[in-house]
């Protein structure tokens, strides 16, 4: 019945699925990672605030709190092994006015309960000194020294690439359709590209994790409600905020941040709007107005004149009650091997702090498999190191010179705002996980993200992709089938 037998199939190559694949690639297992989109990391992992949270925010006793704090601590080693950009620069919860200042201590207590080290409460003068652009009414801040920022696309790509190099099979444009059952045993899955048999299936389908578990007859009451968050991105030449600034959180949200990114751009957002459509990443006037109001409360000197991009992401918010009966909370992560069926590792509701938690979740999945009797023998040839490819704009002139001497295509700039070279683009097209669309190259190289938003590079990237993939420019798309840039050659009216 099946094309091939696997030990483990992972559904969904977002940050969680990719991280699970990477940690499983250590063992003598045949692993298949499937992704319904044209590239990895196109769902919740593609649009978020890029923060590795310290862990003071989740409610104590929940899986969210545990995974967040453990995951956070794993990021130094992981960034070292996988060579993605990660900066542990600390974050601030900023209190404006005296009432908010009182809330900082309870937040710190919550952090202590969760096991967060290195939290300090600063007074207003300290905060003003550290971030001169802050609202002058600042009364203080909780400084969490373990907070960090990362390249969220880089994390997914590095983890999945390391998995693939260590033997995991990745299939994109491959959508899960149903489980193949033998009694209560899951023995495989059906996809749009055929059936695959497997002893284990990991549900890391993110926004669609509810749909997947319902197919196995699990947790019929569990529902993912996408929560949209919108963002503004600012020109780094015009606005420089050097810190990660949270407002004092509300009951429902960590609130609207003003934060720097590893790419140097300041971003503001997100708001939090529950919607029905799992693909609705549209930006709205009302949403943009909301994040603007939130942001200028922290940094009044921001100016919309210097906005160079707006985007929206969807958090896969769930409604699972906390496993710990003493903790009243019903939006916890699901990380389980359910008893009702056999052969499933079920993950669900992995919203924020999902990125921060992802390595801890991967380790937990490995432990669950071991607990279920899997031997998990280590491969002697497993290589935990994934080398980064050259990034021209981050180099010193002397390094740039050397790079171009070795390969002249690194001397040709394709993205004028972010200084991304032809050499970098070609390297990504021929990487272990090939970048085959414009957006795939964008997520990997940061091309097209600057002030001209791809106006200059788009025709050139289409040309390079067509040349390197050996296809017509008409086949080159922004983000997969249906999003091609071009419709026909000119002087071809008969095609109309």
């Amino acid at each position: 019945m099946a094309d091939k037998n696997y030990d483990v199939i992972i559904i969904g190559a977002g940050v969680v699925g990719s991280m699970v694949a990477r940690f499983l690639s250590r063992y003598k297992l045949d692993v298949l990672l499937i992704e319904k989109d044209s590239d990895i990391g196109m769902g919740a992992s593609s649009a978020n605030t890029a923060i590795i949270h310290a862990g003071y925010d989740p409610k104590p006793g929940t899986l969210k709190a545990e995974m967040n704090v453990v995951g956070n601590q794993m990021f130094d080693q992981l960034a070292g092994e996988l060579n993605f950009t990660f900066e542990r620069r600390g974050d601030y919860v900023v209190a404006i006015g005296p009432e908010e200042f009182a809330k900082l201590e309870s937040l710190r207590q919550q952090g202590l309960e969760n096991g967060v080290p290195g939290m300090v409460i600063l007074n207003g003068a300290d905060v003003r000194r550290r971030e001169p652009n802050i609202n002058p009414e600042v009364s203080g801040a909780l400084w969490a020294t373990t907070g960090g920022i990362c390249d969220p696309f880089g994390v997914v790509i590095a983890a999945a690439e390391n998995a693939v190099v260590n033997g995991v099979t990745l299939m994109t444009d491959t959508a899960f359709q149903d489980f193949i059952m033998d009694g209560k045993h899951i023995v495989g899955i059906k996809t749009n590209r055929g059936d695959f048999s497997s002893r284990w299936v990991v549900n890391s389908a993110g926004l669609y994790s509810d749909v997947v578990m319902h197919k196995a007859g699990l947790r019929p009451e569990f529902k993912i409600t996408p929560r949209k968050g919108e963002y503004y991105v600012f020109d780094k030449a015009e606005i420089t905020i050097n810190n990660v600034l949270f407002p004092v959180p509300s009951a429902t949200s960590k609130g609207i941040l003003v934060t720097t990114t590893v790419h140097g751009n300041t971003i503001i957002g997100p708001n939090a709007l529950e919607i029905d459509d799992k693909e609705d990443r549209s930006i709205t006037r009302e949403g943009l107005d909301e994040i603007w109001q939130g942001a200028i409360n922290l940094v009044p000197s921001l100016s919309l004149r210097y906005s160079i991009a707006e985007f929206a992401g969807l958090r896969p918010g769930g409604n699972a009650p906390c496993e710990n009966p003493d903790v009243k909370y019903n939006k916890d992560f699901i990380i389980e091997i359910p008893k009702q069926v056999e052969g499933l590792v079920n993950l669900g509701g992995i919203e924020s702090p999902g990125l921060s938690s992802s390595p801890a979740i991967a380790v937990r999945v490995v432990e669950l498999l071991k607990g279920a009797g899997e031997k998990l023998e280590e491969k002697s040839e497993w290589n935990p190191i994934r080398r980064a490819r050259p990034r021209f704009r981050d180099m010193l002139p002397t390094e740039q010179k050397l790079l171009i001497e070795n390969d002249p295509s690194y001397g040709r700039i394709i993205c004028r705002c972010e200084n991304v070279t032809e050499g970098e683009i070609v390297a990504e097209i021929h990487a272990p996980i090939p970048a085959r669309t414009y957006d795939a190259i964008k997520r990997r190289t940061w091309l097209g993200t600057g002030r001209c938003q791809g106006g200059f590079d788009t025709p050139r990237v289409v040309e390079i992709l067509a040349r390197e993939l050996g296809v017509s420019p008409l086949e080159i798309s922004k983000k997969g089938k249906g999003s091609e840039f071009l419709v026909r050659p000119t002087k071809d009216e008969e095609a109309e």
């Binding site: 991105v233 030449a237 693909e279 609705d280 990443r281 549209s282 930006i283 709205t284 006037r285 943009l288 919309l304 906005s307 160079i308 991009a309 707006e310 985007f311 002139p397 740039q400 010179k401 171009i404 001497e405 002249p408 295509s409 001397g411 040709r412 700039i413 004028r416 705002c417 200084n419 032809e422 002030r451 001209c452 938003q453 791809g454 106006g455 200059f456 788009t458 025709p459 289409v462 040309e463 420019p473 008409l474 798309s477 922004k478 983000k479 997969g480 089938k481 249906g482 999003s483 091609e484 840039f485 071009l486 419709v487 026909r488 050659p489 000119t490 002087k491 071809d492 009216e493 109309e496």
Partner: protein, 424 residues
């Protein structure tokens, strides 16, 4: 072969850069280099295959590439160095230029005078915070123009164009020629923002509707644009509820303004005018950094290429003079100020002695259209220095006025001159 030291380096080989390099060489600069990021000289003119270029300078109606070719040919005969398909990464205030290309590798060059002629870029969807999804099929008009005219591909079949800028209107006609359907052009302002002649020749002649006071409320479609929702806006630029209309289309083109491209100027420490988004310049097109000059759309956005060429010539001449001999500094300068219905005036300052040599050209854009005869007046307080009659003024069309040499004495008395546009 590149030299290490130049008299004049010009960054950008569009109309401003070409003119500046040619004139610098003719003025006496020995070693002149033009650096261009495209694979050929000519800048954006190479993709502007429509006519309308050269009416002022050559008294001929030329297509863009033909206009550019006249300068490219002249440049070729003058032994001017060129570095093509190259990007300037950095420029210092001491006029050291760092550039890279596949052919030259990473190079460091010094120059006695530097001409900034990087042109401008298009405003994007993000800069007007256009709501909706982010599918394929949203292009700036210039990007679409490159796809059609250079790459030979159509970026869509059914178009809506937002903004009545010149490139948008020209693309409306071009796409129609190629068999595409242009549903309409939407303009948020109550007036046309491009040239009237383009409205007549590109929209009216092809029955493409223009809707003033309209904008795009949101973009629809996840993978590819499926439609846009338009909305009428009121005098306060607020959407009028109930006027929404869904227009099916697969492509949205944006022609919503141009921004001078000054990232390198900033690196060189050049002061920028927040109104023009270009450098502050004097009548010699010199910026706030001595020895660094600027010309063309990098200073302010022109509507006619002929004026860009003129600015390039002026700039190249002065850059060469700076490079080969210390220029006289009189230090007696008069500031130019934008008065009633004037958004900005270029140059920003004028050497009072410059009028001893020649009349001085002022260029400006008005804030609001006046569709009746006006005076363009240069004032020193209540004293009128000079004035010029125009039949009308429109924001889409640059206004020029000369301060004649006869105004020499009046200018000596002034510390600041203001320019205003008033009804006759």
């Amino acid at each position: 072969m590149l030299k290490e030291k130049y008299d004049v380096i010009v960054i950008g080989a569009g109309p401003a850069g070409l003119a500046a390099a040619i004139e610098a060489k003719k003025t006496g600069a020995q070693e002149v280099l033009v650096i261009e990021r495209a694979q050929e000289l000519g800048g954006i003119l190479q993709q502007c295959i429509h006519n309308g270029f050269g009416l002022q300078i050559f008294k001929k109606d030329l297509p863009g590439p033909a206009y550019a070719q006249r300068f490219i040919d002249e440049l070729a005969g003058l032994h001017i160095d060129t570095l093509l398909d190259a990007m300037v990464l950095n420029v210092t205030s001491e006029r050291r230029v760092y550039a890279t290309s596949r052919w030259s590798g990473f190079v460091e060059l010094d120059t006695r005078a530097l001409v900034l002629a990087m042109g401008c870029r298009e405003r994007t969807r993000a800069q007007i915070a256009l709501p909706g999804t982010r599918p394929a099929g949203v292009y700036t008009a210039g990007t679409a123009q490159r796809f059609v005219n250079i790459e030979g591909f159509m970026p869509g079949k059914r178009f809506v164009i937002l903004g009545s800028g010149d490139i948008g209107m020209i693309m409306a006609r071009r796409l129609t020629f190629e068999g595409a359907k242009v549903e309409r052009v939407l303009e948020i302002m109550p007036f046309l923002t491009g040239l009237t002649r383009n409205y007549v020749q590109c929209l009216l002649d092809y029955d493409i509707p223009l809707q003033l006071h309209h904008t795009v409320k949101r973009i629809i479609g996840n993978d590819r644009v499926e439609a846009i929702e338009s909305v009428q806006i009121d005098e306060q630029r607020q959407p009028i509820p109930g006027t929404e209309e869904t227009i099916p289309c697969d492509t949205l083109l944006l022609s919503v303004g141009l921004i001078p491209e000054n990232e390198l100027s900033r690196k060189a420490g050049v002061s920028l005018d927040p109104v023009t988004a270009g450098p502050f310049v004097d009548e010699k097109m010199q910026t706030s950094v001595p020895g660094i000059f600027a010309a063309g759309n990098v200073v302010h956005v022109y509507d006619l290429v002929d004026w860009v060429t003129q600015a390039g010539l002026l700039c190249g001449r002065n850059a060469a003079q700076y490079a080969i001999a210390e220029r006289k500094h009189h230090g007696r300068r008069v500031k130019m100020k934008a008065g009633d219905n004037v958004r900005y005036v270029v140059p920003h300052v004028l050497d009072k002695e410059s009028l001893a040599e020649s009349a001085q050209l002022l260029q400006m854009r008005v804030t609001l259209p006046i569709e009746e005869p006006v005076w363009v007046e240069v004032m020193n307080g209540e004293e009128r220095v000079t004035r010029k009659a125009e039949l009308y003024v429109r924001p889409g069309e640059m206004v020029n006025i000369d301060i004649p040499q006869s105004a020499y004495d009046a200018v000596q008395r002034a510390s600041e001159l203001s320019v205003r546009v008033v009804r006759r």
